[in-house]
């Protein structure tokens, strides 16, 4: 392992220079950046929340350049108080607006839009947390209430100002440095710019879309610590808007078939005596000896689909539950045994996607991950696109795991197509590959570039298949991976009328 922080720029608390100094258990507060031991290594971590338990004070830490799913409650013992702690910048600096206005002109580097967005993100998400009632209210309440809707008198003015800043063309090679050049004044403005675009974001979500680009939509602190689900105990990765009462429970219980949630074991076992569901409440559209697929309409099965979304939100960071599930269809993959059809994973799909997405959200439950199920889900989504006669692509942003799964699926299939045409000594076009695999041409190009297969040689573009990928393909052929048999799909693309569209599906 390389030393922490050496890879890439740091993302934790990168909004400008901070005061540094020694701290102790009692003075360490929310927003501080401290060095915390993670997996035996010291790492920079931002304190997002503090709670007192019987075993002592605990700090909720977000580690520098680690995904949020690795955030955790850390006991005092793991915090290195010998190192300096970076203090959060006091809010009152923001008032020195007039004085610092010329600062950008003086500074060598103009802030890039990227940086602005990121900074604003941090501010926003912290803010949203403040609005959120927590079990740890005593700490949250001590925070100054920054954002109140009453402040909107000069909103237009500020929006204009922020547009100006946002429009500055910036070529930022290094965000870290940029961040240091940022002034609090700019931050304040950008914040408003962000809230301005937030409305656009919500409008976008209203009409379609299941993924949020807006980090403010993402709550930063996990609210459920432990979930009993079927034969497994799951440890959620992200926040999910289950009833607030559940965040106080040590453990939540979810019925494996109807996905109803319970905070109380007695209620749950009573429910289990009454629940008669043994499979997702929809039509089976695919069955082989290994898995089944069910198609479920978000409008007809609102409760079930909402439950599914709540469940999957625990493992999908950018999934938004802002709007209801009506405009989506859910394709649920299950495995069968004598108890019923057990949920493995699912993907949702807009009934009508204006952007040509064939997947909105896609998830394999953690207990089934790394077993090749993700590939089956992805393949199924493309098989449906083939039946529809459309080229499809997953909705963005992808998660890290989503990116890896998709890249693997794409590269495996593209290489298969390429080697076949290389054996026949035929040329192939990107469009040809795309139509064969029902992928968009952008995704094909993306994969070719990511695998460094596209070259420009002797005045013409060529595709070169690297040796290691050929070997890898042979190896994986030996493994006999499971695939979806398109002949077993009993499915016709659902048809929706104009009134469906107008009256909210």
């Amino acid at each position: 392992m390389s030393p922490p922080g050496a890879n890439g720029e740091s993302t934790v608390g990168s909004d400008g220079p901070r005061q540094k100094g020694k701290a102790n258990t009692d003075t360490l507060k929310v927003g501080c950046i401290a060095w915390v031991i993670k997996d035996g290594q010291p790492r920079r971590a931002e304190i997002l929340s503090i709670r007192d338990t019987k075993s002592g004070r605990q700090f909720y830490c977000n580690f520098d350049n680690f995904n949020k799913r690795l955030d955790e409650w850390v006991p005092v013992a793991r915090i290195d108080f010998n190192q300096d702690v970076e203090w959060p910048n006091p809010e009152k600096e923001k008032q020195k607006e007039g004085k610092t206005k010329k600062a950008p002109a003086v500074s060598k580097k103009q802030p890039s839009k990227k940086a602005q967005k990121k900074v604003a993100k941090r501010e926003q998400s912290v803010a949203s947390e403040e609005q959120t009632p927590h079990p740890w209210t005593e700490f949250v309440e001590s925070q100054p209430q920054v954002k109140t809707p009453a402040k909107t008198e000069d909103a237009e003015d500020k929006a204009n100002a922020s547009l100006e800043v946002g429009g500055t063309p910036g070529v930022g090679p290094d965000e870290m440095e940029l961040d240091e050049d940022e002034t609090p004044a700019e931050r304040a403005k950008k914040e408003r710019a962000q809230s301005f675009s937030r409305e656009e974001e919500i409008e976008k979500l209203r009409t379609s879309g299941s993924m949020t680009q807006n980090p403010a939509e993402i709550s930063r602190i996990r609210n459920i610590s432990r979930v009993e689900f079927g034969r497994y105990v799951l440890f959620p990765w992200y926040f999910s808007p289950y009833p607030e009462a559940f965040s106080q429970e040590d453990c939540m219980f979810i019925c494996e078939f109807c996905l109803s949630y319970y905070g109380d074991l007695k209620s749950f076992s009573r429910h289990r005596q009454k629940c008669t569901l043994h499979h997702p409440p929809g039509n089976e559209i695919y069955r082989d000896d290994f898995v089944s697929f069910f198609e479920i309409d978000g409008r007809r099965q609102r409760t079930w689909c909402r439950n599914l979304c709540l469940l999957s939100k625990m493992f999908l960071d950018h999934k938004t539950l802002y709007y209801d599930v009506d405009p989506f269809l859910f394709y649920v993959m299950t495995t069968r045994d004598e108890h019923g059809n057990h949920l493995i994973g699912y993907f949702s799909k807009e009934k009508e996607s204006t952007d040509g997405y064939n997947v909105a959200c896609i998830l394999t439950l953690p207990q089934y991950q790394r077993k090749g199920y993700g590939r089956l889900l992805i393949q199924f989504s493309y098989e449906l696109s083939k039946i529809e006669g459309k080229l499809g692509s997953p909705e963005k942003p992808l998660s890290d795991l989503g990116l890896l799964s998709y890249r693997q699926y794409w590269s495996e299939n593209i290489i298969e197509v390429l080697l076949q045409s290389s054996e026949r000594e035929e040329k192939c076009t990107i469009e040809g590959i795309a139509t064969t695999l029902a992928m968009t041409t952008q995704d094909v190009e993306h994969t070719l570039q990511a695998l460094k297969m596209q070259v420009y040689h002797k005045g013409e573009h060529k595709v070169v298949v690297p040796e290691k990928l050929i070997k890898q393909r042979e190896k994986s052929k030996l493994k006999q991976k499971r695939i979806i048999d398109p002949d077993l799909i009993q499915w016709k693309p659902p048809v929706f009328t104009a009134s469906n569209r107008t009256w909210g599906w």
């Binding site: 890879n7 890439g8 350049n65 995904n67 690795l70 803010a127 609005q131 809707p149 919500i202 980090p215 009993e228 079927g230 034969r231 105990v233 808007p241 009833p243 559940f246 109807c258 905070g263 109380d264 074991l265 007695k266 209620s267 009573r270 009454k274 629940c275 008669t276 569901l277 409440p281 039509n283 089976e284 069910f294 007809r300 409760t303 909402r306 709540l310 802002y322 069968r336 108890h339 204006t354 942003p397 992808l398 890290d400 290389s422 040329k427 192939c428 076009t429 990107i430 041409t441 190009e445 570039q449 990511a450 460094k452 596209q454 420009y456 060529k462 595709v463 070169v464 190896k475 994986s476």
Partner: protein, 571 residues
Amino acid sequence: MATRKVRYKKLSVKTPLPVLREDQIDPTEYESLTNESQIATGVEQAEENEYHLQAVLQGAGVAADKEIPVPPPEESTLSYDALYPQKFQKTCTYIRFSQTVEECIGCMYDMTEDDEAFLKLYNQRRVASAQLSDDDFEKIMEVFEDTAYIKTPFAAVDQTIVSYDEMLHGLHDLDKSKVMPHAKEIYEYWKSQRQALGNRPLHPTLKYELHQENDDLDPYVCFRRREVRLMRKTRQRDVQSAEKLKRLRKELEEGRQLVLASHSRELLKAEMLKTDRAIFEQRAQLKEHKIRLGIKTDDEDLINQKPQKRKAPEAPAVQRPPPPSQIRMPLRPDGRPTEADLAQLADRLAEKENELRADIEKKVQNHSDWNKAHVDLTRGPLSPVVGPRPDLSFRPAKTQYLMTPPASASSASLEEPLPMELDKPENPHTVFKFRGVAQDEKSMENPPVYRRRIGRLNRLWIDRRGLASPPGERSEEQSDQWKYDQSSDDEEDTPMYEVDPFDTRALKFRASVPLPPWMSRTTAPPRQAALPPILPPNLPPNLPPAQLAQLAQPPQQALPRPLSQGQAASS
């Protein structure tokens, strides 16, 4: 190393790209060719540089042993079988299902641990017969919760509590004798529980929008309703509207053309009337002149011939509507309703049924015709062998029971065939022994083998091998043998020879019966000899004695050509 600047041609998605393997290109060149351009991953930019993701992406394409770490799930310690006791019946066909979750889980109220403690205490005070069961308790609570939800949707805000009297209405639907004695006390318990929770529903519920200003920022508020969608302008919608407009335009145009056409038609009609009138007047004049001048030629000019023909097709079109009513009218008096002409559904059905019945009867008739000549010698008919057909290799001829003739004729017994008393070698003396087949040990070691196959035009072929020695060439005097065969067929009192039709030697013998000349002359494929379709089992007893005697001679001579070839090939 000098870096050459190459201007790239633009790569279109339609450009045909040659596909090369890495070994088909100069490795040093390849290194320099792979461009290191940054590609958009589709991951949120802030997360793109995360440590674990980058670690995996570094080894892009290679079977990455590096993985992104996630909090690992664990096996549950709860008893799965206790919580999920019901077994699932697998279906043969794909499941089709449309019930909602609410319809599948029965009573919506689930007893909590507090409820359980309360109910236990509550039931302790009562005799066993007057106790409240868990299910009834839940039903009562469900009514309270539902009524409260309907009557006071904003209970958490305005703190109104639905009174017991209002609850009674909902309780009427339940089993009164079981519920009513407890309802009042359960109500008091419910009320206390509600108040403890700030008059919120007892089961934790999701937070829905309340249209308050802080709703938007509250991450717990979810599944907001989407307002009716604005009609968005998309290319598809534009195309659709354009299509609709085009269609409308076309229809209007057609209507206009129709009006124009009928207008000109009416004009033409008026013209025609005028012409007719003119003709009439001219004729009248002509008639007058004729009379006046006393011309007595035939009057064909005065009669309208062609126009009448022309009118003929036109007239019925106008006059057609009246006739039916005129025809129908007289029908009524003779008592038959006009509906009698119409095809009645019942008649149709009866007709159809008759047709079906006739068809079935015809099939039955066909079947019995087909089975007429058939005599089933096997005492217990066998059921047809199911499963794949045996392979088409040669099989030794063994005595065995033939399959039942048509399945429909058999009594469909599924039992294994057993040799019948008669066929057991207790009474071999009655069996006619063929002398014609060699019985030496050599031939016993190599029993004749046969192969049955279907040839072109669905002809059945029996190929054979391993026959001892074929009978000799047919002599001139033997060729007239058919005369005797024919005559003997007519005799009723043919002497019966008891022959075991399944004896190996009998089979062998039958297989060696020489072909009639007309058959051996046909161009049989080399190495294979055709036999007439399988001999029915009842044939041997009916063989005419002359033929039997003739064929029983020791067959030292060679068989007709095709057979000897077959033998040569097989040995």
